[in-house]
């Protein structure tokens, strides 16, 4: 013990060092304090901003797209939720993560999830591979934590099952997204159009370079409707044309998130958020169309036996479109993305491959030779120019030699005046009309009735059609102008073409005393609770410059087409209806290519069958156009369908007004004569 207590060894060697050590330690801590001063006092505000940005996220609040209804209030397009299943790889398959990070209480739920989602074995293997690839690292922002879309548009029962077992299946999230829903499916698909996911090209239009870093106002200017990746945008039809009304404005809400991206709520989270917390989304405007869906259904029923064609029904004294039907059609639900992207792709490839072009709206985008339905305008041209005496009869031998070319007529009509020529559709009579009036005055009269120019419907790309003139031929043909061109024009053949919509409006004008209306598809814009924001009155486009007595004469001839025993549509007339109209059988001039099979060649060689009508004849309410592409004869194919649609219209009107229904007429099926194609 004593040696412990002897005087200790000399500490003198260390004496001088203590001060230096103390100084060094002091300086070292001073540096730390300096650094803290820099971080907390000088840059404190900056770091506070960063810390705030770390946890406050602006979550966009979805808006609902406006509902589209028909004139009677039937819903034509609305939104429904589609439930998509996402899997977070790191939580569904924790065993895939690097081993030292996984905690013991996590178990693999992926196989249960896959069972619940009814993922087939092949897909299951593929997804499992993707999950494993994502989880090679599990840092906080690795793809291991990024949700993976596994199934789109889950059926309700699977959604219910997943929600019930939510607590036992960590790693699966069911997210609902709005998907456009068209309850009438194919019906009216062309006029309604569809909503599709915005494509990259369109998006770059709204997101110019540097968009991410633009101040809010500039962003607003470049992208007023706030499009983002994955948004739906109206692709065609009303959905496209009225996009800015239908879309609505997204809102946002500030939410507090932690480092793993989980939302936090409660008073602590509330305290962090700075005002304003939330901007409510503005729902899109609802649209009320002029379309009468029941009449549209009637058009669809009428066309059921036909391959391809179009129907237009327009209110004669307003220009409001009651039915626009184009066949073949498509189901916009397949293109709206509800069933997943694969279904959209598949549907598109099928639609593009179809030779009957189902995506084309034939009512407005298809231009066809009007055939004999054009004759009233030729007749009017001649009457206005006073170059033909309507009472004078011309002789029809069934054909006419014109140079070396022979013009054929359907029959040997004998001696016909203008009324009979229109009613019986005599081509020979109209060679005289053409010769007397001349091409340009016929063209002028066609233009008076809106033919050859776009109607301005504003939905879907519209064809202007063509009304040829001498100057048009001068540009088109190197050779001499021939009288034959004029003869063709007078009977709606050759270079002449119109869209069914143009013809409908022109016939409405024939019936209503010459007033050409703007076609109207949208009746009103409404708020989501039904208040009318904007109501669109009918608009007159043009008043045709024709003398009333001439118009009356032509209208009388059109009445004779249906009601005179010799009229072309007389055999298919409905005696309970008061219809005036004109049949047409337009040759298409189809020349079969060598590799086309006989059946196809036969189909395409058939004429377009037309019927253009207005009803009631004296003071028309509606004008109806029916065209069957390659349908053959106008009087036998198209006219009965138009009559049927007019009959349905009357029935609907009566039902809505509470009047007794008109009797169903037995349509006389046996025809007095079957007109040859090309000259009805």
């Amino acid at each position: 013990v004593s040696d412990l207590l002897v005087p200790r060894s000399d500490v003198g060697e260390f004496r001088k060092r203590y001060k230096w050590m103390a100084l060094a330690a002091f300086l070292a801590f001073l540096v730390v304090v300096g650094r803290l001063f820099q971080l907390q006092v000088i840059s404190g505000a900056d770091y506070r901003a960063i810390a705030h940005e770390n946890i406050v996220r602006r979550v966009t609040l979805a808006t609902t797209r406006g509902v589209i209804r028909d004139a009677q209030g039937h819903v034509l397009a609305s939104s429904r939720p589609a439930y998509n299943a996402y899997v977070v790889p790191g939580r569904a398959l924790p065993s895939a993560r690097p081993p030292h990070h996984a905690t013991l209480d996590e178990v693999d739920t992926w196989s249960h999830i896959a069972d619940s989602l009814r993922v087939n074995p092949e897909e299951r293997a593929r997804f499992e591979e993707r999950i494993r690839a994502a989880c090679t690292t599990d840092e906080d922002k690795s793809p291991c934590w990024r949700p993976l879309l596994v199934r789109e548009d889950l059926p309700r029962d699977i959604v219910a099952e997943l929600l019930q077992h939510e607590s036992e299946l960590p790693g699966v999230d069911v997210v609902s997204t709005p998907v456009r829903y068209y309850p009438y499916k194919n019906l009216g698909s062309h006029l309604l159009g569809y909503v599709a996911e915005i494509d990259a090209e369109t998006l770059t239009r709204f997101h110019p370079p540097g968009y991410e870093h633009m101040p809010a106002e500039e962003r607003q200017k470049a992208n007023p409707l706030g499009y983002d990746v994955g948004d739906g945008i109206g692709a065609t039809g009303v959905e496209h044309a009225w996009e800015s009304y239908l879309r609505g404005q997204r809102g946002w809400e500030k939410r507090v998130v932690d480092a793993r991206g989980r939302y936090r709520s409660g008073p602590d989270a509330e305290r962090i958020l700075d005002a304003p917390h939330r901007q409510e989304p503005i729902p899109g405007r609802d649209l009320r169309l002029t379309i009468d869906m029941e009449l549209e259904q009637s058009a669809e029923r009428a066309m059921r036996a036909q391959l391809s064609g179009a129907v237009v029904v327009v209110e004669a004294k307003t220009g409001r479109l009651l039915a626009l039907y184009s066949k073949p059609d498509f189901d916009p639900n397949d293109l709206a993305g509800g069933g997943g992207k694969a279904r959209v792709r598949e549907t598109f490839s099928k639609l593009y491959a179809d030779p009957l072009r189902p995506l084309l709206d034939k009512t407005t985008s298809g231009a066809f030779q009007p055939g004999s339905t054009f004759k009233p305008f030729s007749a009017l041209a001649a009457l206005e120019a006073k170059v033909v005496d309507p009472e004078q009869k011309e002789k029809c031998d069934g054909f006419l030699m014109f140079g070396r070319k022979m013009f054929k007529c359907a029959h040997v009509h004998g001696k016909v005046d203008m009324r009979a020529a229109i009613a019986e559709s005599c081509n020979i009579y109209f060679t005289h009309v053409a010769e007397a009036a001349g091409m340009d005055s016929i063209a002028r009269m066609a233009n008076e009735f809106g033919l050859g120019a776009k109607t301005g419907i504003g939905v879907n790309p519209e064809a202007a059609g063509r009304v040829p003139t001498r100057s048009w031929y001068a540009l088109r043909y190197k050779g001499q102008f021939r009288l034959g061109f004029t003869l063709n024009a007078a009977i709606g053949e050759g270079a002449m073409s119109t869209t069914p919509l143009q013809l409908a409006l022109a016939y409405a004008a024939l019936g209503n005393g010459g007033v050409l209306y703007m076609p109207q598809l949208v009746r009103a814009v409404e708020t989501s609770d039904g208040a009318i924001v904007q109501d669109f009155p009918p608009r007159v486009r043009h008043k045709a410059n024709v003398r009333p007595e001439n118009l009356a004469r032509v209208d009388d001839a059109l009445y004779a087409v249906v009601n005179d025993p010799k009229g072309t549509a007389f055999p298919v007339r409905d005696p309970t209806l008061d219809v005036a109209g004109k049949t047409g059988t337009a040759q298409t001039g189809y020349v079969a290519a060598k590799d086309v099979d006989a059946k196809t060649a036969w189909y395409y060689s058939q004429s377009h069958a037309w019927f253009a009508a207005f009803s009631p004849a004296k003071s028309p309410e509606i004008a109806v156009i029916v065209i069957i592409e390659h349908g053959g004869s106008g009087p036998t194919v198209a006219a009965p369908l138009a009559i049927q649609i007019i009959h349905d219209y009357e029935r609907l009107q009566a039902a809505r007004a509470g009047r007794p229904m008109p009797k169903v007429a037995t349509v006389q099926k046996t025809l007095a004569h079957a007109p040859a194609p090309g000259a009805p």
Binding site: V1, S2, L4, L5, V6, P7, R8, S9, D10, V11, G12, E13, F14, R15, R17, Y18, W20, M21, A22, A25, F26, A28, F29, V31, V32, V33, R35, L36, F37, L39, Q40, V41, S43, G44, A45, D46, Y47, R48, I50, A51, H52, N54, I55, H100, T103, E139, D140, K141, V256, V257, D258, A259, R260, R264, D268, I272
Partner: protein, 381 residues
């Protein structure tokens, strides 16, 4: 009578400043740990309670360590050192791999890190060597061969685990203790040059990939925010977010929203700085500064070389831990896993620091030793 006299002496000689500062740090540390783990309460079941147990246990150990005359430690110096080395070797046999390194010995449900305690054993061994080798003339490198070996063996064993932080602390403690003795100036140049070469070799062959990544991410902090730079990046934001007055207790968003990984082990200061701001941080740094300077003061008043070296050793242990941790958390230094004394969660770390403080208390209390013969027993001698 004797008992009363002994207690009276203990009271007179007791280093109240040392005790109070250490106790204050312990209390603040637990309070901060409460905040740091509050968000994880469910998964980290009441870590702060565990930490209180460690602090109480460490306090008891420190009292015992302080009560036994440090000259007994001097006597047993090399034996203690040998025990430390054996424990370090046992790590390789009994250790388990956690996050790519094995640092722990498991005995039943109990586990500890021998490398932590090795710091104290090394301190004692070096103190004994310098105590036994008094010199008044300047030393040459030859005189440091044995201390260098004493340091080198545990340092290499710890590097092998691998635990770069602890190895660094061991080495720096050795350097600090060496700073006490006088050197020939020329020899110092050799040391610096040799150190440079060693660093080069260590960089190329010694360091693991993740260790290098941490250093490069320190040199270029914004390059890899999501990867290796994540810790440093978010710790810096947390500190800055504290501002002058802090966000308030348990209100630091960086911590509460889990942007701070290892907030209870290596980064508790970021939590503290965010909650209490610059003023709170200043208080904390002053406390650590005081503790280190106080240790130097204790060394300067020590009656013998062993006590002086011991005090400087423990002082350097606290200094390097605090400086490295604060430097790393504030972004002054690369991220190496070094705990903040009495702040970081962990039994081995807390016990080591508290035993170290017990040793300081021991040296401090025995500065009043006047002459042989008056001292009573071994216990309070």
């Amino acid at each position: 009578v004797i008992g009363g006299r002994l207690l009276g002496r203990a009271r007179d000689h007791f280093d109240w400043a040392l005790f109070l500062v250490a106790a204050l740090l312990g209390v603040i540390g637990v309070v901060n740990l409460y905040s740091a783990t509050s968000v994880l309460r469910a998964s980290l079941s009441d870590m702060y309670v565990q930490q209180v147990y460690w602090l109480v246990f460490g306090g008891i150990l420190a009292t015992i360590v302080a009560a036994i005359d440090y000259r007994h430690y001097e006597r047993l110096g090399y034996l203690l050192y040998a025990v430390g080395i054996v424990l370090l070797l046992l790590v390789f046999i009994l250790g388990r791999d956690i996050r790519g390194s094995s640092r722990w010995i498991y005995i039943g449900s109990f586990s500890f890190q021998p490398s932590e305690f090795m710091k104290l054993f090394l301190c004692i061994a070096l103190a004994k060597y310098l105590h036994d080798d008094p010199k008044s003339e300047e030393r040459s490198l030859k005189d440091l061969v044995v201390p260098a070996i004493l340091t080198g063996v545990p340092t290499l064993l710890v590097l092998k685990q691998p635990d770069l932080g602890t190895a660094l602390i061991l080495f720096l403690m050795f350097v600090s203790i060496c700073a006490l003795v006088r050197f020939k100036l020329r020899q110092l140049f050799y040391v610096v040059a040799g150190g440079g070469v060693a660093a080069e070799i260590a960089w190329n062959y010694g360091l693991k990939g993740y260790q290098k990544e941490r250093i490069t991410s320190f040199l270029n902090p914004d390059a890899n925010v999501l990867g290796a730079g994540w810790h440093a990046h978010h710790a810096r934001i947390a500190i800055g977010n504290g501002g002058v007055f802090g966000q308030g207790f348990m209100r630091g968003t960086q911590n509460q929203f889990q942007f701070l990984p290892d907030q209870y082990s290596d980064f508790p200061f970021a939590v503290f700085a965010e909650d209490w701001g610059f003023l709170g941080s200043l208080v904390l740094v002053v406390l650590y500064g005081f503790l280190v300077l106080w240790a130097i003061r204790i060394a300067s008043t020590a009656r013998d070389r062993f006590g002086a070296v011991l005090a400087v050793g423990v002082g350097s242990l606290i200094f390097w831990h605090a400086f490295f941790n604060l430097g790393m958390v504030t972004g002054l230094l690369p991220v190496v896993g070094v705990t903040l004394p009495l702040f970081s969660y962990g039994g081995s770390s807390v016990l080591t620091i508290l035993i170290g403080i017990g040793l300081l208390m021991n040296v401090s209390m025995r500065r009043f030793y006047v002459s042989p013969g008056r001292g009573g027993g071994l216990i309070l001698g």
